[in-house]
């Protein structure tokens, strides 16, 4: 069982690396979709074993919600938003990809050192898959920094959320049910608001390049 989670946590990490090294917005959305599917798989396996052992079904319900929201609904929404804006081929990143990838490798090392010290200080057992999921959070941050397009930033936000969800899964077997539901409601609202804003920005600035949003200073 543990090996499955190991493998899945590594695959989630790998998918965020793939995301970082992608160039096209449609590819971001697809990678996000795959990552969400992996996360749903993690929730599914964990939920199944808890349902069998302890007769509690909340993680299974969460798994279904993830599939409905993150695998189906949000990618669809993003594709639609992307369809609404005018298609223009513009470079979407500041640095070249190998450098971005190297920085992300640095982030993995950083999260390893910050998390692994906890255990050695107090002998407290911390599940080491958390290192991988925390790295996903950090890579999500870096993705947001490294992209110029507004949709790229939405994806970065979603990847951070994914990373946080997996962190919660691996460290504490998920948050309390009601909190999880609240987080999902917040997330879906946030994405919808951001989507609407992207459309408005595209109308007002005739681009979704956030470099253009630089009037307010000082």
């Amino acid at each position: 069982m543990e090996f499955f989670f190991d493998l899945l946590s590594v695959l989630v990490l790998l998918s965020s690396f793939v995301l970082v090294s992608n160039k096209k917005i449609t590819a971001y959305i697809k990678t996000f979709q795959i990552q969400s599917a992996l996360i749903a798989l993690i929730a599914g396996i964990m939920g199944w074993s808890i349902a069998v052992n302890e007769d509690k079904y909340d993680i299974l319900i969460i798994c279904v919600i993830i599939i409905a929201l993150k695998v189906i609904f949000i990618p669809h929404l993003l594709y639609k938003t992307y369809g609404n804006i005018e298609y223009r081929v513009e470079k979407d990143f500041f640095m070249n990809i190998p450098i971005i990838v190297l920085i992300c490798c640095g982030l993995v090392v950083f999260s390893y050192f910050s998390v692994s010290n906890i255990g050695s200080l107090t002998g407290f057992h911390i599940n080491h898959q958390v290192v991988n999921s925390l790295s996903v959070v950090l890579i999500g941050f870096f993705f947001m920094i490294s992209r110029k397009k507004a949709i790229g930033q939405i994806i970065g936000y979603l990847v951070i959320e994914n990373g946080i969800f997996v962190t919660a899964m691996f460290s504490t077997n998920g948050m309390p049910f009601i909190v999880d539901i609240g987080i999902f409601i917040d997330m879906i609202t946030a994405v919808m608001i951001m989507g609407i804003m992207v459309t408005r920005i595209n109308k007002k600035f005739e681009s979704i390049n956030i470099d253009k949003l630089s009037k307010l200073k000082g």
Binding site: Y157, S171, P176, I185, M197, L213, K215, L216, G218
Partner: protein
């Protein structure tokens, strides 16, 4: 009675969706905020009597103690005043054909969702739900910040949503670690309940808790506008409609600070001293004050000036809780209250100025007292008050801060603090001279006199509040703050 606090704003949102008449929209808004004010008053009274207030039907979900009632009262009183002010403000906008009727409907429903999520954040026991509610405040205000729907407002709204959502995601990571730290202490059904975590604080895992606190301070610090995560704040506060700016500055920043304080109490109780949290919070606090000082000195836009001043005061409050002596915590809570009222008054007055002069630039506003006698006077006195001039209330809490810093033997810190406040004072006074002297520009389009009558009344009320609390502190308030201080300091 606490239930009313949850239900009233929800009903207001529903009604304002249904109603099709501007007058009744205004009436609904004022009635709702008045009901909430009454409910808050009754709740305050029962907290004074029983210390904590919970309801059996929600399990432990609903939880109010002295800490939350202070922030809750601030939020609800400011909400009430803003709802009165909004009537005049929106009517004025409507008269100039700047907005349509539908926008007002949207404004009110968003404002009450915002109120609801703030009240929810302040009245729940579960830290996870507190996080959800604080994130919901970001989402509810996103379109209110972009209310004007021009390029600047859109830019501010986008930055606001992105930076705050991401920042607060950090706080969620922190909350997960908090859950992890308590995993063998608090049972899974009661996970993340603040009172249980607080009672069992000694048994939590210290090193995980430290990591958790760093994430939470950065996360909620982003929302509270601490430097260097403050970049969204001047944009959002200056571009939002003025009543919303007042709510953001006076109520929302405090809610984010409140969440930090709650977790600070747990961490400090666990670690048994405040050295770790103190160092972090003092660093963030002094950095915020310094960053604000730099920008206030060179500011050309009066709403941004006020926004930077909010960053400064949040820095002062963070500093107060970082020092963590009884006196400094007292000063912190007092400062929270005083800053909220003073800043609300300033933002509301600046709203009137903006509607009159139609510019945000300081250099274009001349002869304010002649054009707008009440708003101008409120703005003048407010600027003096916010920079810490006696006899206003901010002076009282700042002098308490000085005393607490020096009595905690942080001499260098105290020196830097005084120096920065002096810089900020100079920066604000320069603005003041620019605005209040000189003749109004001769422009036939601008008529003299107040146009927002309810707004003027609100300003007078606020003026009375900040002047009176500067000279005399009600015993009730003192008792409340003292009991909040006891909760935070533990024991």
């Amino acid at each position: 009675m606490g239930l009313v606090l949850w239900i009233a704003p929800i009903i207001a949102v529903m009604l304002s969706r249904v109603v099709n008449n501007i007058k009744s929209l205004h009436i609904i808004s004022i009635c709702t905020s008045f009901i909430m004010l009454l409910a808050a008053g009754i709740t305050t009274k029962s907290v004074m009597l029983y210390e904590t207030l919970t309801y059996k039907i929600f399990g432990d979900a609903f939880f109010i103690d002295a800490v939350s009632i202070i922030v809750l009262d601030i939020v609800i009183i400011i909400g009430f005043l803003v709802s009165i002010y909004s009537v005049g403000y929106l009517n004025e906008k409507l008269r100039h054909n700047l907005i349509k009727y539908k926008k007002i409907k949207f404004y009110y429903s968003m404002m009450y969702i915002f109120m609801f999520s703030m009240v929810l954040a302040l009245t729940v026991n579960n830290i996870g739900i507190m996080w959800v509610a604080i994130e919901a405040t970001t989402l509810a205000t996103a379109f209110l910040v972009g209310f004007n729907n021009d390029e600047n407002a859109l830019e501010a709204a986008w930055k606001y949503v992105i930076i705050c959502s991401v920042g607060i995601a950090m706080a969620l990571v922190g909350i997960i670690f908090l859950h992890l730290a308590s995993i063998n202490v608090v049972s899974n059904e009661n996970a993340l309940q603040w009172n249980l975590l607080y009672d069992n604080a000694k048994d939590l895992n210290g090193s995980v808790l430290r990591l958790s606190f760093i994430f939470i301070l950065i996360g909620f610090g982003t929302k509270a506008g601490l430097a260097p995560m403050h970049t969204w704040l001047p944009d959002a506060h200056s571009q939002a409609p003025s009543p919303i700016s007042a709510l953001l500055s006076g109520a929302l920043l405090n809610s984010a600070m409140y969440a930090t304080i709650r977790i600070l109490a747990i961490v400090n109780k666990n670690l048994n001293d405040s050295a770790f949290t103190g160092r972090l919070m003092i660093a963030f606090g002094i950095l915020s004050i310094a960053a604000a000082a730099v920008f206030i000195m060179t500011q050309k836009d009066y709403k941004r000036l006020l926004a930077y001043s909010s960053i400064e005061h949040m820095g002062i409050i963070t500093l107060a809780f970082g020092i963590f002596t009884p006196l400094s915590i007292f000063a912190g809570f007092l400062h929270m209250i005083n800053h909220s009222f003073t800043k609300t008054m300033l933002f509301l007055a600046s709203g009137n100025i903006l509607q009159k002069y139609n510019t945000r630039r300081i250099s274009k506003v001349r002869g304010l007292l002649k054009m707008l006698p009440i708003s101008g006077a409120a703005f003048l006195i407010g600027l003096l008050a916010i920079s810490g001039t006696p006899p206003f209330s901010i002076f009282v809490s700042e002098i308490n801060m000085f005393l607490s810093i020096f009595s905690a033997k942080y001499y260098v810190l105290g020196g830097v603090f005084i120096l920065l406040l002096a810089f900020i004072f100079v920066g604000i006074v320069i603005t003041l001279f620019k605005v209040f002297f000189g003749e109004p520009a001769i422009d036939s389009n601008i008529r003299r006199g107040e146009t927002n009558k309810p707004g003027a009344a609100v300003l007078i009320v606020l003026l009375i509040i900040i002047s009176v609390t500067g000279l005399y502190m009600p015993k009730l308030l003192k008792n409340l703050i003292t009991s909040a201080q006891m909760i935070i300091i533990g024991g």
